[in-house]
Symmetry: none
Subunit: 220 residues, 4 copies
């Protein structure tokens, strides 16, 4: 990311300022509909000065996404590590509860990520995706602990970890439909139940049966 300043500390300080200033603007108007003039005004900088710290408009998007995702991932890490003393099941329930509430609080920001990632350059996109991957990995660790402890039985841990994350995001992505169905409290409770049932140990028979169902009639 091009810069005219060599003062690294200043640059990262300014970029944090940019990320914070621009977030509500981007979330409200969308990246494409926000002009550099508006960005500069939100950052309380002149346009020329803004370009002192960024190389182009896209950089503002990347800076903002990276910063917010960093914050979000750290939050999840804190939540997970703070429940390390609990049993895996208890920890999972608590983490899901807090993760879903945090996602709800992040609000349209989650939706923003799904919408605007496409506007990033490939290398910037990779950075963002790596952060997203690390978010999932936090859940993988927790699920792994549960499997080791015999509380969960999971074939494909990364997939279930993804399911949890997506289920959190879903509340943001489809709020317009889900709000008509239930409250956030209901949502958390119900989804947690479904998850726990689906990863509860035992039930091998059912699985074998299902696998049969799945394979036979669909063969052509």
């Amino acid at each position: 990311m091009r810069t005219f300043s060599n003062n690294e500390g200043l640059v990262s300080e300014r970029r944090e300022h940019i990320a914070k200033s621009v977030a509500p603007l981007f979330v409200r108007k969308g990246y494409g509909q926000t002009s550099i003039r508006e960005i500069a005004k939100a950052c309380d900088m002149s346009m020329g000065h803004l370009y002192y710290y960024i190389g182009g408009k896209e950089d503002v998007l990347q800076i903002m996404m990276d910063f917010d995702l960093h914050f979000y991932v750290n939050l999840v890490k804190k939540i997970i590590s703070s429940s390390r003393s609990l049993s895996p099941t208890e920890a999972l329930v608590k983490v899901i509860d807090q993760f879903f509430r945090a996602t709800d609080a992040a609000g349209d920001f989650t939706l923003f990520f799904y919408q605007e990632t496409k506007n990033l350059q490939p290398d910037a996109r990779k950075i963002i995706m790596d952060r997203e991957r690390s978010l999932v990995m936090e859940f993988e660790k927790l699920l792994g602990r549960g499997c080791t402890a015999g509380e969960f039985q999971i074939d494909n841990i990364p997939l279930v970890a993804n399911n949890i994350v997506i289920t959190g995001h879903m509340w943001a992505l489809r709020r317009w439909m889900l709000r008509k169905i239930c409250t956030l409290d209901d949502y958390i409770q119900n989804q947690t139940e479904y998850l726990l049932k689906s990863i509860a140990p035992g039930g091998k028979k059912g699985l074998a049966f299902n696998k049969g169902l799945l394979r036979e009639p669909l063969n052509k």
Copy 2:
């Protein structure tokens, strides 16, 4: 939606042509990054002629989304009605299989919906969302049948229906991550297993237990 033609048949024919022509372009470049000139060229029309059938650029987005979603919803309806003779469980397994494969085939189109719906005018957005809602309702009907038959046990049918749809979409939205975890076949099989386990009858005790877990430690 404004038109200069009164020939309704012609208008809807051209609009279908527009919807089909523009879809790959939109999916590849994004709505905002596609210019009217490109749209016209993709439709093999002059720009002026394009405006003979639409009122503005936004209309192209709406026409394309409406058409594709219509197609998609009809497909799901067909899938579901074709499995009416099967038992609910068998039907669900089959429908999920086909629905997930259809969503995979629709490719980036699913992602496109999540990204670009924001660019629609409120009334156009409502139309699109109603179609989306009707998609979910197809699954609700199927789940309802399973509950009646005693094969499923579901508190919140609309929520589970949403889960199924989202799980399908997720394969498109997060392909970049999921592809590293498993194949589509694995994905379908695993997600189906998780779903069936989570809605399997019985297990009341577990639920009560979970509810306790959920509520007690989180109360402040």
Copy 3:
């Protein structure tokens, strides 16, 4: 003016239809802001068919102006000839009254002429101006009759004729200001008085005095 039809009678019939149909549209929206599509719709014709009788958009303006001015001039001629049996002063008073009322009824049409004549081609403009000139000439004849009869004393008859016409137009051109000053009845009465005083016989002395005033202090 180009035509595709050779049937002269039909052409002039259609052009009259066009003139009548388009007048309210032009007066309301202005020539430049009215599209051929709207013109065709107002004429109850297709665009293509309209071009069967005209050579271009400008022709519509010319046709409409020519027709309406023709109508207007004829009206004034009728008014003037119908008062031929009255004394010149009586006739003038009556003609002015009726002319001003007719101009008021023509409404924004008068303003339209001043605004849009510039959009005519030079030769079309000449035709319109000739009609306007013939309007003035009708008043010149009347004034000439009065001078011969000794009821008026006018140095420059064409100028006074112009003054009368302009004073009529002024009511249309500056209605927004004049309406605050007086009613149409007041306007007619006052302007008639001023006119009659200014062309009353006698008062040579005053004129000589004025001429002196006019010439001496302004010479440099």
Copy 4:
């Protein structure tokens, strides 16, 4: 009127520049037939930069009209105040002479006003009309002084003031016809004579007589 600059001094300086640069162009081609590209070129600015000081094409019209009318009204004010030491009759004669010559010098600009005011937004139109009104009021003051001094006898001062202004405008509006009748010098002299006769004191009898004429034969 929207601006991107907060530097008020610069903005009004540039707008004056725009007003001056664009006037001959507008007068020659008309507002509607002048493109933004041409306006920018005439102002020696890029199109984008032009939009730095205006909110839209209409603003250019308003800026130009406001500026020129301001100049014109100030001119008349100066003329009138410079003749304050003269007798009302002398002053009127002198002011008319100078006002008519100024209007003649302003050339097609007067016609432009009558033609293009319709293209202004209502609020902009109001501003222009207020300036026009203040022009008339200058003449009202002068006429009022003459009435007080007993040199004029006028029922409706605002109307006569309007007549004077219109008679000046008329030379511009109908130059094509008036030029064939007389020179500007003749025009000024004749119109001044007519005016002075029409507002000369005395002649009550004639008025009473005329009023009779006016009312009786036209009643139905």
